[in-house]
């Protein structure tokens, strides 16, 4: 039994209840189905002890997973990627969470036996190929490198992953982190030390803000420092948590500083979403920097109970009686993963 099993069960019930008729989930209850929240909701529902990831799981969970996977399979493009939803014909960054979801499905024998289809293996391969070959940012010329180094203090020879399909786009922190996670969970022992993931880690170290942490991708705007943000920092730290290996020995300074920055963000935040995403990352870094067990305990209480704001109205409301957070399937899925004592979603076995 995990400490938060009851809360997770309530959260899963909420996800099942608000699943769209088309099988997907949106960013808000009743909203359009998008690939990212659908993939994250499925990851939450895969929970091996409480969710659908076991034999004799409650039928509503089983049905929700089957419908959700049908939705994701139907939304995949012939090139192997996903747009933001079915009608979006261009593959982009939502390929990463979808691939993450399929990798967990195929990696955990119980899940694979219950829900995978033979064609999922090929679908996953074509998604992997797209991520590796089409979604990384293009190389820069020496002249461009010089300009970017001088003006933005970044090493643009380190290639990250893009948001969109445009051939001239740059890589950014959040898509890079998600792509690294998606690729690595397929087989951490092999992928975490691959050239692409090592370069991804170097990219993230290079894009760390001067004060620690990450923002969307630019540590500097010309000669001025840009501050870190909770989301960029949380995704980057989650990517490091999934991909750190012995080859990173001595190269973790940016990670430790990022942990302190994120922990400080969570101390101040009024956002359930920041709490859910932040805790999902910070749980991998206990007792590092300013992040200690007292703080983590407080953050979990905030995530569950909410935080009053200065206006008297509750800012972060915590888990609602409905079982969800912020009436958002996206935030609820992240919160469930943050509360789970089982790390099946990043360390599938």
């Amino acid at each position: 039994m995990g400490i938060y099993d009851n809360q997770i069960r309530l959260g899963l019930d909420f996800l099942v209840k608000i699943q769209n008729p088309d099988g997907g989930w949106g960013y808000k209850v009743g909203g359009q189905s998008f690939v990212e929240p659908t993939a994250l909701a499925l990851l939450a529902l895969f929970h091996p002890n409480i969710g659908a990831g076991r034999l004799n799981a409650p039928q509503p969970y089983v049905d929700a997973v089957q419908k959700g996977l049908t939705r994701l399979r139907a939304d995949q493009h012939p090139d192997g990627g996903w747009g933001i939803f079915k009608e979006d014909q261009f593959s982009g960054w939502m390929t990463y969470p979808a691939t993450w979801c399929f990798n967990i499905l195929l990696r955990i024998p119980e899940l694979a036996a219950l829900y995978a289809k033979p064609e999922d293996v090929d679908s996953r391969s074509s998604a992997r190929s797209l991520i590796l070959n089409k979604q990384r940012e293009p190389k820069v010329t020496q002249k461009e490198w010089d300009i970017y180094k001088k003006l933005l203090s970044i090493d643009s020879n380190l290639l990250g992953w893009k948001w969109g399909p445009n051939a001239t786009e740059a890589g950014f922190v959040i898509p890079t982190a998600l792509a690294m996670i998606a690729l690595t969970v397929e087989d951490r022992t092999i992928v975490a030390d691959s050239d692409q993931i090592r370069e991804g880690k170097a990219y993230l170290r290079d894009r760390a803000c001067a004060v620690g942490g990450w923002n969307v991708g630019n540590p500097y705007m010309y000669d001025k420092q840009l501050p870190p943000t909770p989301d960029g920092t949380a995704y980057a730290l989650l990517a490091f948590a999934v991909t750190l290996s012995t080859s990173d020995f001595g190269g973790t300074q940016e990670v430790w500083r990022g942990v302190s920055v994120l922990s400080d963000f969570l101390e101040e935040t009024y956002s359930d979403h920041v709490l859910a995403l932040g805790l999902l990352s910070l749980r991998f870094y206990p007792d590092i920097g300013t992040n200690n067990s007292d703080r983590m305990g407080r953050f979990y209480i905030k995530l569950l109970k909410g935080t009053p704001s200065q206006t008297g109205k509750p800012a972060s409301k915590g888990q609602a009686l409905s079982g969800g957070w912020m009436t958002s399937p996206h935030t609820t899925a992240l919160a469930i993963l943050a509360l789970s004592d089982n790390l099946y979603f990043v360390q599938p076995q």
């Binding site: 979006d88 003006l151 969109g164 010309y222 909770p230 935040t269 009024y270 109205k313």
Partner: protein, 353 residues
């Protein structure tokens, strides 16, 4: 002299034939030249634009109101005065969407639309009988905007007036065909909240901008572009041309009015790191080109083809007017509030990032 009938005759062009040939060549050359000049619009679009531009010269002038205001004082009264002084649209019975500019929280900086201005606007539209007032923004630098709303003071206003906020980055989306064709996209995915607005009001902060020169009511439209489709910080709009995307958004999804917060503006290294500059004005109108041109003049800048190009471009496209003699100034004249803002440094282009 005898004529040898077997000798080939020398062909000589008559004057008429020569004239026809030259005329045909001139027309063909003009078409080719026009095609080059009109790229990327294409000649047909270019011709129709020129008709629109010519027509604009005979159309009504645009009205822009300037009023003084301070954050500490009553903002609603001068705002109401300005709103009623110009030909702004009615809000009665409409679903009004206010689009402020909320980017980052840098304490002491004039970076975001001030909550007091937003509050006055909400009260004004409720006073006018709006069916619903919504505040909506899609921040360029953060996926979750909750903390920014608190830090900027906006959330306090939303709570106290019980106004819903829509995060445009994660809103439901609708496919909207682009109307201009200026950014080479056939369509864009745009937030449903914006598409369904019956009165969309752009509420920018008056600021300098290192790439666009100034960021005002038209540039503020970058905030309606959803991050889930176009990423953060929406760089694809920079990669494919700032001016082209500004005028495209204005043509495709035009707000019906704008309220510019120029009470405490920003000069120098905008839009993030500039210095607060007290201009103590609100600028209001329904022609965003005219309002932005007026704001630029208040800041001490004149839009030209090379500086504040998006304003010039929007005027050239007939989306509005920037010329002083086509703008009817209401309430205060520009000269009475004119300042001399330090321009933003214009560094080398790093649009990729």
């Amino acid at each position: 002299m005898t004529i040898n009938p077997n000798r080939p005759r020398r062909r000589v062009l008559s004057r008429r034939q020569f004239t026809r040939l030259m005329l045909t060549g001139a027309i063909g050359g003009s078409v080719v030249l026009a095609e080059f000049v009109s790229r990327p619009l294409g000649i047909i679009k270019w011709i129709s634009l020129n008709f629109r531009r010519l027509g604009k010269g005979f159309g009504e002038k645009s009205q822009v109101a300037i009023v003084n205001a301070t954050y500490e004082g009553d903002i609603l009264t001068p705002l109401r005065t300005a709103w009623e002084a110009v030909d702004t649209p009615s809000a009665t019975g409409k679903r009004v969407v206010l689009k402020p500019n909320i980017i980052y929280n840098f304490p002491g900086s004039a970076i975001n639309t001030h909550p007091a201005v937003l509050e006055a606007a909400i009260r004004l539209f409720r006073e006018q009988g709006a069916k619903e007032v919504i505040v909506a923004e899609g921040s360029a630098y953060q996926r979750d905007i909750t903390d920014l709303l608190y830090q900027s003071g906006i959330q306090k206003v939303l709570d106290s007036l019980n106004v819903p906020f829509v995060d445009l980055n994660h809103d439901d989306l609708v496919k909207v065909n682009t109307k201009g064709g200026y950014n080479s996209l056939e369509f864009m995915w745009l937030p449903k909240t914006i598409a369904q607005a019956e009165l969309l009001v752009s509420m920018p902060k008056m600021k300098t901008h290192h790439w666009a020169g100034v960021t005002l009511s038209m540039k503020n439209l970058y905030g309606i572009v959803p991050g889930i489709k176009y990423g953060w910080p929406k760089n694809i709009l920079h990669v494919t041309g700032i001016e082209q995307n500004i005028v495209e958004l204005y043509e495709t999804m035009p707000p019906q009015a704008t309220i510019v917060d120029g009470i405490m503006a920003m000069e120098g290294d905008g839009p993030l790191f500039g210095t607060p500059k007290p201009a103590q004005v609100l600028v209001i109108g329904r022609d965003l080109v005219a309002v932005d041109a007026t704001c630029a003049r208040i800041m001490g800048f004149e839009p030209t083809k090379d500086f504040l190009k998006h304003i010039w471009y929007a005027d050239w496209l007939g989306q509005g007017v920037m010329s002083k003699d086509r703008i009817i100034q209401k309430a205060l004249p520009v000269e009475s509030v004119k300042q001399s803002f330090v321009a933003a440094p214009k560094p080398e282009d790093v649009a990729r990032y």
